[in-house]
Amino acid sequence: MGFFTDTSVCIGCKACEVACKEWNGVPGSGLDLLGMSYDNTGALTANSWRHVAFIEQPRPSGHGSAPFTGTPTGGTASAASATVAAGTTGPTGTQPGLPPGSPPAAARMSVGDQDGAGVSVGDHGGATGGPVDVLGAPFAAGPAGGSAAGASNAAGRGTADAPPATGRAAGPEFLGMPGAQPPGRGTGAEGRTDFRWLMMSDVCKHCTHAACLDVCPTGSLFRTEFGTVVVQEDICNGCGYCISACPYGVIDQRRGDGRAWKCTLCYDRLGAGMTPACAQACPTESIQYGPLDELRERAAVRVATLHGRGVSEARLYGHDPNDGVGGDGAFFLLLDEPEVYGLPPDPVVTTRDLPAMWKRAGLAALAMAAATVVAFAGRSS
C-alpha cells in the first residue's frame, strides 16, 4: 500500500499537514513565515511529517506548448526573496530540523531559463534582459533589492500583499508572497513575467529498500505488513544513524525527546481499515492512497493525459521499482525536475554498496594485522 501524490492538482491548502498533525498528535513547529513563498514549514522534520513545498517559477504551466510560444516569460520570480528565504530558519523543535540553505545558490536558481529545459539554471536573464522580480521590476536595480536582502527579514514578515513595484523603496521588503495585482500591471504587458507556482506535498517515501531501516542498530525501524516503514518509539535510542542514512533527508530527531520521528503512513489507521489522514483530508485528491500497482496505473494514465494537453513537463518520480531505492511506497507526479522540489535526482539506498564496503574494511584490517606482525618480526630493537 502507498501514496500517489499528484502535484498537478495540489492547491497548496495544507490540509494534509494539518490533518497529519491532528491525527498523529505531532507537536507544533512554531508559526512562522520563512519567506519561501507560502511555505511556513520549510522541510520534513520530526515535527512535520507532511510538508507542502511552494516553488515560484517564471514559466507558465505547459510552457512547452504552442499557445504559449511568444509569451513574454522569463526573468525571476524574485531572486531577492529567494536569497532571503534560503537563509531563514524557524524553530522546529527538532534536529537538524530546517538547516539554512545557501543564499547565493538560491539566487542563482531563481533566475529563470527561457527554454523550459527545467534543470538548466543558466544565468541568462529573462525577456527583459536581467533578473526581475515577480512584478517584473529588475530586482538588482531596485533600491531595496537584493542588497538589502536579509537585513529586514522580520520587517517583511507577514506582508502578504506585495507593495507595488514603484513603492518598493519605502515599503517593507518583498519576500515573494503573491501580489494582489495581476502580473504586468506595473510594467505593461511586454515586461510582465508569467509565472507558475509548483506545489508539492512531500512525505516519507517508504522506500522499498529503506536505508533508514537497514542501518538502525536497535531494530527500532521496521517494515509493516502494509510494506511501509515505521519507527517504534519505545525502542529508538536516538543514535541518529537513520538520519544520515536517508537519501531523501526525511527522518529527523526531536529535541528534548531525543528520538527519531517521521511519517508512519498512519499505521494505526491502516490497521483499522481507514485511509491515512492526509489522503482523507486532501480536497483535490492530490494525495491518493491505495495498492501500489493500482496507483502506478492511475499515475501513468494521468501523465499521458497531461502530456496530451501539452504539459510536457509532467513526469513521475519514485514510481520505478528498479530505481536506486527499489521504488518508493510514496511516489509523485512532478511538473519539473525533482531537485527543483528539493528531491534528490537519483537517490540510492546507502546499503547498496555495503558488501563492497565490508570487503574494503576487511582488507584494511588484514593490512593492519600484517603490518603489526612485520613490525614485531624484525630483529632489531
Partner: protein
C-alpha cells in the same frame, strides 16, 4: 585555478539531506576507537616478543581509550539510557550494530589485559596471591583476544561513515577504512614511542612507518579521487585539519625514524603521531558534514548520473 561553480537547482538552496546530528564526540570516538585498537596491537606484540614496556603502555592505553569510546558513543545518543537497545539485535546491514558487538568483544578483553598489569602490586601470599599468580596468564590470553578483534574495531568505523547518504563519506568508502587503519596503527605506535625506551621502541617505529603510509595514501586518495566530492576535504575547516594531519604525520614518522637514539625525540614523534590521528579523524568527519549541508554535493553528482544514463539510453534510439 578554480573549477567553475557547478550549477544546480535545489529548493531555495536548502540542503536535500539532513546533515548528521552527530557532534564532535563521534569524531572523538573515531579517534579513541582507533587508539584502543592500535595500542592493543602494540601490547600484543610487546607481550609476544617480550617487550614489557610496550606491553604495559599498550594495555593501559587500550583500556583507557576503549572506556572513553564507550562514553563518547553513549553520550551522543538522544536517549543515552537506552544504550542497551543496541544489544537487542545483531545486524550486518548496520555498521553501528556490528561496531557495538565488536566493542562488546574488545572492551572486556582489553580490560582484563590491563588489570593483569596490576598483578605485581598484589601481595605474594594468601588468596590475593593466588589471584596475582592467575592474572598474568589471563592477561596474556585477554591481550591476544583484544588484538584479534582490534583490526575490526579500527576499520569498521570507515564503513560506519560510508554507509550513509552523506555524499563525501559514501563515495569515499574504498578509502575510509584504509585511512582509519593507518591512523590507528600510527596512534598505537605513538603510544609505544612515548612510553618505551629507545631500546624497546623498534617495532613501534616500524608500526609508525606502516601506519603513516596507509594514512597518507588514504587521505590523499580521498582528497583527490572523488571529483566534486573531494572538495569538502580540501577546503575550509576539514581542509585545514587534514593538512595539519599530513604535516604532523610526516613530522612524527620522520622523528621516529631519524631520532632512534633519543628518548626525547621519540616521545615528541609519538605525540605528533597521536595528534595527527586526532586531526585526521576530525577532518574526515567534518568533510562529510560539509558535503551534506550543501545541496550542490547531493544534486550535481546525481544529476550527472541521470544525464549520463539518459544519453546512454537515447543513443541507440537515434
Amino acid at each position: 585555478m578554480r573549477v567553475p561553480e557547478a550549477e544546480f537547482t535545489s529548493y531555495y538552496g536548502r540542503p536535500i539531506l539532513k546533515p548528521p546530528v552527530w557532534k564532535w564526540d563521534i569524531a572523538a570516538y573515531l579517534f579513541t576507537g582507533g587508539l584502543a585498537a592500535g595500542s592493543s596491537l602494540l601490547a600484543a606484540g610487546g607481550q609476544v616478543t617480550g617487550r614489557p614496556a610496550l606491553r604495559r603502555a599498550g594495555r593501559v592505553t587500550a583500556l583507557a581509550a576503549v572506556s572513553a569510546s564507550a562514553v563518547f558513543l553513549i553520550r551522543d545518543l538522544g536517549r543515552p539510557e537506552r544504550f542497551h537497545h543496541m544489544l537487542r539485535v545483531a545486524k550486518p546491514t548496520s555498521p553501528m550494530s556490528v561496531g557495538t558487538w565488536i566493542l562488546t568483544a574488545f572492551g572486556p578483553a582489553a580490560g582484563v589485559a590491563a588489570i593483569a598489569e596490576g598483578a605485581g602490586l598484589l601481595p605474594r601470599r594468601g588468596l590475593l596471591g593466588l589471584v596475582g599468580r592467575a592474572l598474568p596468564p589471563a592477561g596474556h590470553a585477554a591481550g591476544l583476544v583484544a588484538a584479534a578483534t582490534a583490526p575490526a574495531l579500527a576499520t569498521y568505523t570507515g564503513v560506519l561513515l560510508a554507509d550513509t547518504a552523506v555524499p563525501s563519506w559514501h563515495e569515499a568508502y574504498p578509502e575510509l577504512p584504509v585511512v582509519f587503519a593507518g591512523s590507528a596503527l600510527a596512534s598505537g605506535a605513538g603510544v609505544g614511542l612515548l612510553a618505551a625506551p629507545p631500546a624497546e621502541a623498534g617495532p613501534a617505529r616500524r608500526m609508525a612507518v606502516a601506519g603513516a603510509a596507509l594514512e597518507l595514501y588514504g587521505a590523499h586518495r580521498v582528497e583527490t579521487r572523488l571529483g566534486l566530492l573531494s572538495e569538502p576535504y580540501r577546503q575550509g575547516r576539514p581542509g585545514r585539519l587534514l593538512r595539519a594531519g599530513r604535516l604532523l604525520t610526516a613530522a612524527g614518522v620522520t622523528g621516529a625514524v631519524l631520532g632512534r637514539r633519543s628518548r626525547a625525540v621519540g616521545a615528541l614523534s609519538g605525540a605528533a603521531l597521536l595528534a595527527a590521528s586526532v586531526v585526521t579523524r576530525f577532518g574526515i568527519f567534518y568533510g562529510g558534514v560539509v558535503s551534506a549541508r550543501d545541496p550542490r554535493y547531493t544534486v550535481v553528482p546525481q544529476r550527472e548520473r541521470v544525464n549520463a544514463r539518459r544519453t546512454r539510453t537515447d543513443l541507440p534510439a537515434d
